[in-house]
C-alpha cells in the first residue's frame, strides 16, 4: 500500500483513465487494464528513481504521466477502432449522397411548382417551401449517413467483405471522348449567349415596354399580375444561366449533357408554372380610355399568350420526358 501514497498522482491518473475507458459495464476488464498500466508506469517511475538517486518529486511524476498522454487519449486506444463510414464504403456513400441531394432538390422544385400551378399553393407558400430546401438537404444528408453508418457497423461487426465493387465489367466503361468534342472557350461562350440576351431583355422590360409591345406600347401596358411574376422569373432565368454555365464546364459525357438538359427543362417548367398562374398579361391604361376595340385587342392578346404558354409548357414537359427516357435508357445500356 506504500506505493498508493507515494504515487498519489498516479492513482489520480488511473482514476481519470478509467472514466474514459470502454467496457463501462465490464469493471473486471477495466480493472485488468488499469492494473497492467499502473504496473508499467510504476516500473518506469522506479527506473527513473534509480537513475536520479532519489524519490520522484511531484513534478517528475507529472512529467512521466504527461509523457504517457492525456487520460482520454490513453483510454481511447483500448477501444475498438470503428469508422463511421470506412474507406471501403466511402466512395459508394459519397456517390449516393450526391444523387440523393440532387434528386431532393429536383423533386421538391417540381412538386412545389406543380402545387403552385394548380393553385394549391400560393407564391408565398412556394417561396417558403424553397427556403426549407437547406433543412431538407440536412435531413437527406443525415438519413444517407445513418444508413451507411449502419452498413459499416454491420460489416465490421460480422467481419464480412462488401462486394459492391466486384460486379463491374470494364467493357461497360464510357467510350473515349473525341478530342474535337470538347468545346473551345469561344464556342462555349456562344452557347450561353441566347440566355444572356434573354436575361438582358427581361431586365429592360419594366422600363422599356416597347421592347415587347412595339408601337402598341402607346395604348398597351403590363397587367398588375405581371409585377408578381417578374421577380421569380428573373431568379429562374439566373438559375437557368447558372445551369448552362455549369453544364459547359462540367458536362463532358453525353449522359451528363442530357442530365444538364433535364435540369434546365425542370427550371423552364417552373417558369411556365409561374407564368400560367397569371390570367392577364396586358391591359389598356386608364389614360387611353375604355375604347371597345382596344379592350378586345387586350383580351385577344391575353388569350393568345395563355394558349401559347400552355403549348410551350406542354412541349417542354414532353421533351423533358423524352430526355429522362434517354437518360434511363442510356444508363441501362451501360449496365
Amino acid at each position: 500500500m506504500e506505493t498508493l501514497t507515494r504515487y498519489d498522482l498516479l492513482n489520480r491518473y488511473m482514476q481519470a483513465v478509467r472514466k474514459y475507458l470502454p467496457f463501462g459495464r465490464q469493471t473486471l476488464r477495466q480493472d485488468d487494464i488499469l492494473k497492467e498500466l499502473s504496473a508499467n508506469i510504476l516500473s518506469q517511475m522506479e527506473d527513473k528513481e534509480e537513475e536520479l538517486g532519489h524519490s520522484l518529486t511531484e513534478g517528475e511524476q507529472a512529467a512521466i504521466l504527461k509523457q504517457h498522454g492525456h487520460p482520454m487519449l490513453v483510454a481511447s486506444r483500448y477501444s475498438l477502432q470503428q469508422y463511421l463510414i470506412g474507406p471501403a464504403l466511402f466512395p459508394a456513400y459519397w456517390y449516393v449522397l450526391k444523387i440523393a441531394l440532387v434528386l431532393m432538390v429536383l423533386i421538391n422544385g417540381v412538386v412545389n411548382a406543380v402545387l403552385f400551378a394548380v393553385g394549391t399553393n400560393s407564391m408565398g407558400q412556394m417561396l417558403k417551401a424553397w427556403l426549407q430546401l437547406p433543412w431538407i438537404a440536412v435531413i437527406t444528408f443525415a438519413w444517407v449517413t445513418i444508413v451507411f453508418a449502419g452498413l459499416e457497423f454491420a460489416v465490421t461487426r460480422y467481419n464480412t467483405q462488401l462486394k459492391i465493387f466486384d460486379s463491374w465489367n470494364p467493357s461497360t466503361l464510357p467510350r473515349m471522348q473525341k478530342s474535337g468534342t470538347k468545346p473551345v472557350p469561344v464556342n462555349a461562350l456562344m452557347e450561353l449567349a441566347p440566355g444572356v440576351v434573354f436575361l438582358a431583355w427581361w431586365l429592360l422590360l419594366p422600363h422599356h415596354p416597347w421592347m415587347i409591345f412595339g408601337s402598341a406600347s402607346r395604348f398597351l401596358a403590363y397587367s398588375t399580375e405581371t409585377h408578381r411574376f417578374y421577380l421569380p422569373i428573373l431568379c429562374l432565368l439566373v438559375a437557368q444561366l447558372g445551369l448552362d454555365a455549369g453544364g459547359l464546364i462540367y458536362a463532358r459525357e453525353a449522359w451528363q449533357k442530357i442530365g444538364k438538359g433535364v435540369a434546365a427543362k425542370c427550371v423552364a417548367l417552373i417558369m411556365f408554372a409561374v407564368l400560367l398562374r397569371a390570367r392577364t398579361f396586358v391591359r389598356i391604361p386608364d389614360a387611353v380610355g375604355n375604347v371597345v376595340g382596344y379592350q378586345q385587342l387586350a383580351h385577344v392578346l391575353n388569350t393568345c399568350m395563355l394558349i401559347g404558354l400552355k403549348i410551350g409548357a406542354a412541349v417542354v414537359a414532353l421533351t423533358l420526358l423524352l430526355d429522362i427516357g434517354r437518360l434511363v435508357w442510356g444508363k441501362m445500356q451501360h449496365r
Binding site: K35, E36, N40, I41, Q44, D47, V74, R77
Partner: protein, 130 residues
C-alpha cells in the same frame, strides 16, 4: 516545391505502423511485460509510445498471437507476454513478407541490382494522352 514536415510525419507513421507489429511479435519470442518490452524495443532503435504499445499487446493477445500471465516480480504483479504457437507461425510469414518487400525496395532503389529487363525501344508504346 517546399517540403511539408507534417506530410513527411504522416507518411513516416504510415510506414512504421505495420513494422511495429512485426517488431513486437519478434521481440516477444522472449517473455516481457509491457515496460521492459518497450525498453527492449527502444534499445534496438524501435521507439514506441506507451499509449500505442500497451493496447497493441492486448489486441494481439485477443487475436491469439500472444499469451499472457500475471506473475509477481520484484514484489509487484506484472502481466507477462510471450508469443503463442499461432503467433510464431504468423511471425514467420510476416518476416518472409517483410524480407520480400525489403528486397523489392532495394531493387527499385538500385536499378543495377534489378532483374527486370527493359523492353527494346521498338516495343515501347506511348501511353494515350488524356
Amino acid at each position: 516545391m517546399t517540403l511539408d514536415p507534417i506530410q513527411f510525419e504522416n507518411l513516416r507513421m504510415e510506414l512504421r505502423r505495420g513494422c511495429l507489429v512485426l517488431a513486437v511479435l519478434a521481440q516477444l519470442r522472449a517473455e516481457h511485460y509491457g515496460y521492459t518490452l518497450r525498453k527492449a524495443l527502444a534499445e534496438r532503435g524501435m521507439e514506441i509510445e506507451e499509449s500505442t504499445l500497451y493496447p497493441l499487446l492486448r489486441r494481439l493477445e485477443s487475436q491469439g498471437l500472444l499469451v499472457s500471465e500475471w506473475r509477481e516480480e520484484a514484489k509487484r504483479n506484472k502481466r507477462f507476454y510471450r508469443l503463442s504457437g499461432d503467433g510464431e507461425q504468423i511471425l514467420q510469414q510476416l518476416l518472409e513478407e517483410w524480407h520480400g518487400i525489403n528486397a523489392s525496395i532495394h531493387r527499385i532503389i538500385d536499378p543495377s541490382d534489378s532483374q527486370i529487363i527493359d523492353p527494346p525501344d521498338s516495343q515501347i508504346i506511348d501511353p494515350p494522352k488524356y
